[in-house]
């Protein structure tokens, strides 16, 4: 490396890291605060060095039973992902391998149902849920999240399925495999990486979904998004506890996000950018 190249690289290193630290600062600060005592957390002059304590994590669990909300989040996000896959796999399979003149239109129509703002259907869904006893149940929220993510899941799977060589499936068909066997024995193993990243994205979206969580659940089925929202009352001014609860709520999904960052672009732009 010539001195000029090195100087250039050093300059970009400084710039890049300055931007990265600035943008992630609120999060880093939050994680740091979660290990502080409540007094240190609201000190007039913020402390950068302090005695770390796990006190806030313990208090959050004891006072508000954090694990119950976490369990709701896990059930709802994993359940909705499985349900969405169950409907999406046959659909994407059909459109990818037996395309007709209407396939493109169907795909765009599916996406357009996602453009419908959730609030537009809030009233009917709320009333249907109230009358069927689904209000404040995990099942109810799980179903709504699954349907909400369905268009995106279908689209993602469709772009991944398109890359599986047709000949392999056709060979299976010649051997007499029906659609179900064809999907189960051939397509799923061949497109496993695509299915995994689709599932990751669907899980992330369901985990972070806030609109339906806030409107359709209360004490019983509330997931973490709704639990954290309860800190918007003056309770939120207990900074160390707010930070501890938030850190626990985002940690698992942050890891999933980092793992899937590459496929995320492809998935969310429906293969338009890869």
């Amino acid at each position: 490396m010539t001195p000029i190249e090195l100087r250039r690289k050093t300059l970009f290193t400084l710039l890049g890291w300055a931007v990265a630290l600035l943008l992630s600062f609120p999060l880093l600060w939050m994680v740091l605060t979660s290990f502080k005592s409540e007094a240190a957390a609201i000190a007039r002059v913020p402390h950068l060095f302090f005695h770390p304590t796990l006190e806030s994590f313990r208090v959050v669990q004891e006072q508000s039973n954090y694990l119950r909300f976490a369990w709701n989040s896990i059930v709802v996000s994993l359940g909705s992902t499985l349900l969405a896959l169950l409907f999406a796999i046959p659909s994407a399979y059909t459109m990818a391998f037996s395309p007709t003149r209407r396939t493109r239109g169907t795909l765009l129509w599916m996406l357009s149902t996602k453009m419908m703002p959730s609030v537009g259907v809030l009233v009917p869904i709320y009333l249907i849920f109230r009358d069927t006893g689904l209000l404040d149940t995990r099942t109810g929220l799980l179903v709504v999240d699954a349907v909400g993510n369905l268009p995106i899941v279908i689209w993602m799977l469709y772009t991944f399925f398109k890359e599986v060589p047709r000949e392999v499936l056709e060979a299976g068909r010649m051997d007499g495999a029906g659609p179900v066997r064809e999907i189960y024995n051939l397509l799923l193993p061949l497109s496993l990486p695509g299915i995994v990243s689709t599932s990751l994205l669907a899980t992330i979206l369901a985990w972070n979904e806030a609109f339906w969580s806030l409107t359709l659940t209360a004490a019983k089925a509330a997931p973490l998004t709704a639990f954290i929202a309860s800190f918007s009352s003056p309770q939120g001014l207990f900074y160390a506890k707010l930070s501890a609860a938030s850190t626990m709520a985002i940690a698992p999904i942050l890891v999933l996000g980092w793992v899937s960052q590459r496929q995320l672009v492809r998935g969310l732009t429906f293969g338009a950018v890869k």
Partner: protein, 300 residues
């Protein structure tokens, strides 16, 4: 399958694809029901007297709910706020995202880790990021910004009272900048090195390079980002719910929050239904234009 057996005769194979199309029926039915049934119900409620607090007062109300909503000073403001939020966030995320993408296209030490840091806000649930900003950064007493302003001798500002909409734009942009950045970065990196080299040989400076080589290549990524962000940002809700609660007055109420106010604060189903129709109409108008430009960018 040990043996190669011709199980199907010729015309059976020909009828097979139709059987396969049936596999698309469950997903289509679910999405059809999801988009049509609630919409019809909303349409029905919009002509009814229906308040959960007054169960005896029911019946056909003609255009009553419509007149009531149109006279609500909150409606115009809510539509304006919805569009203003969307447009500002799109501009900020795509603008800054492009700059960031070009920066991260350069080689530097620890680039992978720095990129992970930049991406992180995208995976944070909206209620966490909104409360984090509201209480720990923007709070007029204990917020970090207040501390910084005090330490240079300025008087801290109550951001959610003075500039509620701007505060929300900052928070949501912070959450969505990573997505725009990552999409644009992927596009920038897929740009052919040789084309850049050729332009450089022709004496293209940094600005000319961006204007004529990089920017035209980003069209697809910009279209896709606009599309996805519009889908998710037309209905911004949680960020408003936990920070300003739509206030002061209606200053930071968008259509989503206006409908929420009607349903869960005033129990007015009829009024909420009309507002819901307005939201659907607005979304469809935008969807019509976006879908057309986005469909051109697909190889479906």
């Amino acid at each position: 399958m040990t043996q190669h057996q011709p199980v199907l005769s010729g015309d059976q194979i020909a009828t097979r694809p139709r059987g396969r199309l049936l596999l698309n029926v469950p997903a289509i039915s679910v999405l059809f029901l999801w988009s049509i049934v609630p919409l019809c119900m909303t349409l029905w409620f919009s002509f009814r007297r229906y308040n959960l607090m007054e169960p005896t007062r029911t019946g056909f109300d003609g255009w009553g709910n419509y007149r009531y909503l149109l006279s609500d000073p909150g409606l115009g403001l809510a539509i304006w706020n919805t569009i203003f939020l969307l447009a500002s966030i799109l501009l900020i995320t795509i603008g800054l995202g492009t700059l960031l993408a070009i920066l991260f296209d350069q080689d530097f030490f620890g680039r992978g880790i720095a990129r992970v840091l930049v991406l992180s806000p995208f995976f944070v649930m909206p209620t966490v990021s909104a409360l984090l900003w509201k209480n720990m950064i923007l709070h007029p007493e204990n917020g970090l910004l207040a501390f910084l302003m005090r330490s240079v001798g300025l008087k801290p500002v109550d951001w959610f009272a003075v500039a509620p909409l701007t505060s929300i734009i900052v928070i949501v942009s912070w959450q969505w900048l990573p997505f725009a950045f990552l999409t644009l970065l992927t596009a920038v990196q897929s740009l052919d090195e040789e084309r850049k080299e050729a332009a450089r040989m022709d004496g293209a400076g940094a600005i000319a390079m961006f204007r004529y080589i990089i920017w035209p290549h980003l069209g697809r990524a910009v279209a896709a980002t606009t599309m996805i962000e519009t889908i998710f940002l037309l209905g911004i809700f949680a960020e408003i719910y936990v920070t300003s609660a739509g206030g002061p007055g209606f200053a930071s109420t968008n259509l989503s929050f206006l409908i929420y106010r009607y349903v869960l604060m005033e129990y007015d189903i009829g009024g909420a239904a009309v507002a819901g129709l307005v939201a659907v109409l607005l979304a469809n108008l935008l969807a019509f234009f976006l879908m057309r430009s986005f469909a051109r960018n697909l190889d479906a």
